[in-house]
């Protein structure tokens, strides 16, 4: 187990290193000049060159990347070009909101997805099953920007059940979580359905029924835990999906997370912020996958980590 962990952690570091090289190189290759963004249109050529020199952007790629890496290993993500504050402060101020939103989204997608999948599996082949599966297809395909605005309009503007965007209370959390979670709910319902159908075909289920156990007990006590196994492993992978989703969802709901920070930084070529958010997201994805793998043997003793 410890050897496994150590190996995975080394892999994680290599992945992060790879992500940082690729992102840094892409930003370096951008035709737009970040110094012009900082200097503004009224800056003289002298001001532009002066800023370029101070930020070290006149250096060759390897030197720039080397400096960034050196800062990174010391825990320094650099200073935002435009906000002129520490990137780590900006991310720290916004990360809790994003994590909360993701937690909310996981709850939503599991609650909706698993229920849909379970019902569809039990009612396999019926009209209910088909309706649910078409429904899951719609939620998987619907653009989050549209879903977000739609939910906002119906439940916040028209019905007034929730605030129109913002952050702070539980009521603020519901709609953004739902918007973010509804996409995953579609995936989960399909996975849950097929997994459940597989399990329901097993001999031990028939045995349990033959023993005279009530149908519901068989479903919830015997079938569900086994059907859940492959689904649990998905949650770790989900975090990657969320990372792309929060950029849109946070914008629509005015949710003060790192998605909005990333979006603003990209528009203004604020390289230190883009790098910082990318690395934090990559960390989250790597950790999510690692956690999913570590947790699996505890849920299913048949799985061994080597």
């Amino acid at each position: 187990m410890l050897g496994y962990l150590a190996r995975r952690l080394v892999q994680a570091v290599l992945i992060l290193l790879g992500v940082s090289v690729v992102t840094f190189a892409l930003l370096y290759l951008l035709p737009a000049d970040p110094v012009r963004q900082i200097a503004g249109r009224s800056a003289t050529a002298q001001t532009v060159e002066n800023i370029r020199r101070q930020l070290g952007l006149d250096q060759p790629f390897l030197v720039q990347y080397g400096r960034y890496l050196l800062g990174l290993v010391q825990g320094d993500l650099g200073r935002s070009y435009l906000q002129r504050s520490e990137v780590s402060d900006l991310i720290a101020a916004r990360l809790p909101a994003s994590l909360l939103l993701m937690a909310g989204a996981i709850v939503c997608e599991l609650a909706i997805g698993l229920t849909m999948g379970l019902v569809a599996a039990v009612k396999r082949g019926s009209a209910t099953d088909q309706t649910l599966m078409v429904g899951s297809f719609v939620t998987v395909s619907a653009p989050q920007f549209v879903v977000g605005l739609l939910l906002l309009y119906v439940f916040a503007v028209r019905l007034g059940w929730f605030p129109i965007g913002g952050y702070g209370t539980f009521r603020h959390l519901v709609l953004p979580s739902l918007t973010l979670g509804i996409l995953g709910a579609g995936w989960y319902s399909r996975m849950m359905r097929s997994s459940m159908i597989d399990v329901l075909r097993q001999d031990y289920i028939r045995t349990a029924r033959a023993k005279g156990l009530p149908r519901l007990t068989v479903l919830l006590r015997h079938a569900l835990p086994n059907a859940l196994l492959p689904v649990i492993a998905m949650i770790g992978i989900d975090i990657g999906l969320f990372m792309s989703g929060i950029v849109v969802v946070e914008s629509v709901y005015g949710w003060p997370g790192i998605g909005q920070l990333a979006w603003q930084a990209i528009q203004r070529i604020d390289i230190p912020i883009i790098m910082g958010v990318t690395l934090v997201s990559a960390c989250a994805i790597v950790l999510g996958n690692l956690l999913a793998d570590i947790v699996s043997p505890f849920i299913d003793p048949r799985i061994r980590l080597r």
Binding site: P31, A32, D33, R36, I38, A39, G40, R41, S42, A43, T44, A45, Q46, T47, V48, N50, I51, Q54, R79, L82, Q83, R84, S85, D89, L90, A93, R94, A97, L149, L150, L152, Y153, A156, V157, R158, I164, G165, G166, Y167, E250, S251, V252, Y253, G254, W255, P256, G257, Q260, L261, Q264
Partner: protein, 542 residues
Amino acid sequence: MMHWLKTTTAAAALGIALAAAAPALAADGQGGSITVTYKDDVSTLDPAIGYDWQNFSMIKALFDGLMDYEPGTAKLRPGLAESYDISEDGTVFTFHLRDGVKFHNGRAMTADDVKYSLERTVNPKTQSPGAGFLGSIKGYDEMSGGTADSLSGVKVVDPKTVEITLSRPDATFLSVMALNFSFVVPKEEVEKWGADFGHHPVGTGAFKLTDWTIGQHLTFDRNPDYYREGAPKLDEINFEIGQEPIVSLLRFQNGEIDVPGDGIPPAKFVEVMNNPDLKKLVIEGGQLHTGYVTMNVKMAPFDDVRVRQAVNMAINKARIVQIINNRAVPANQPLPPAMPGYDKSYEGYAYDPEKAKALLAEAGHPDGFETELFVANVDPQPRIAQAIQQDLAAIGIKASIQSLAQANVIAAGGAEDQAPMIWSGGMAWIADFPDPSNFYGPILGCAGAVPGGWNWSWYCNADMDKRAAAADAMVDPAKADERAKVWGGIFTDIMKDAPWAPVFNEQRFTLHSARMGGGDALYVDPVATPMNYRYVTVDDVQ
């Protein structure tokens, strides 16, 4: 979804009617609070650094300069300086500071602070995007070049007097002293916070920052010790950050906010303007903006003035204004109507494709020619470029559209032989301060016709440069009107050479809640967006 506005406005209108029925309790309009929303984070509130349209006006509420503007106008008035003297030759400005001006930390402001603040902006370490505006102060080159650590032209005579010597007469200097980059900051606070001063701003301004939760909200509270009587009107301004313009509009209709800071989302513009209840809350005004097509006078066939004039006559400006839903007015000269010096009597080149064709034939292009039109690839710019393309095709000019990222278009314009024509939309030009000279130097003068410059038509007329320098040497404020006229003449004379085809001047549309007042001019203030925070009022103050 198409009918959102129609159905929600009924409710909003009801709310508005109720608000209007409430008695106005505070006759002088003092007190109350408003909520303004923005999509993007406020990047910094450091006056030497902040340079986007969002923080620029917020900084004006927190800090002051030696000079100021009459609210809602482009008319200069003394600010932290009570009065000033200008030497005969226009190179020495002596400012006499007001008594009793205090920073938000309680310390009295002195002449040393003025000197410190100007030098801080020029200091290369500050990385101020506006350092160049202070270029006419004596000693600027040495300090910005790093060979001096102070400005030799700025002298503290006594704690209440600053004497600023210029290296050349500069009639725009008073305007520059009203610009954010010369606002006065307290040295001890700047040194205490270092690079984070922009998040802990301390000034002399009408409001002080009392709360800033990154990515969520900022609160400005009234400064009770503000030096100017009767300002500010409001007790508090709340800024909510991170709200999509379309969501802000929904919240506005719901009566939750007072001003959507990012304005009316373009996709909803027609709907808002067609809704009588909303339309009456919209204040329209001019902007110091002109959108134009540059023609590179160094590239054939645009080296022939007749070709450039023909292009001027070929573009149907009224139709282009329609394409952007009438959010602009057609232009015929470089200066926008809101700018001093704008010549109302100038007629420009009227839309006349036949005459344009004839001019082209005269210039030796009876069958037209092929060329390229560069444009930034952000809506609505490519659509505008297409309209221009069609107009040009009608007189035989086949222009292919190069739709590129903004930075690439700017780079092409700054190269001598890259872009024959550029549509300036989304990139240029909005004046930094209401003075006509700001529309000349960088974009039409020889100084801007350099690699990396903004004079994309590469028009360089030594005679015009001389006239411009002469106009800027008319430093006496009493001659401001005369000077504006001289400038107006320069621009209409430039149009004889037609290096640009001016297309339109963008208009501003500020939406504000029915409870807000203070005068319409404050909401289209030429030096503040979306409004002049210091003077706006609310009418339901308890």
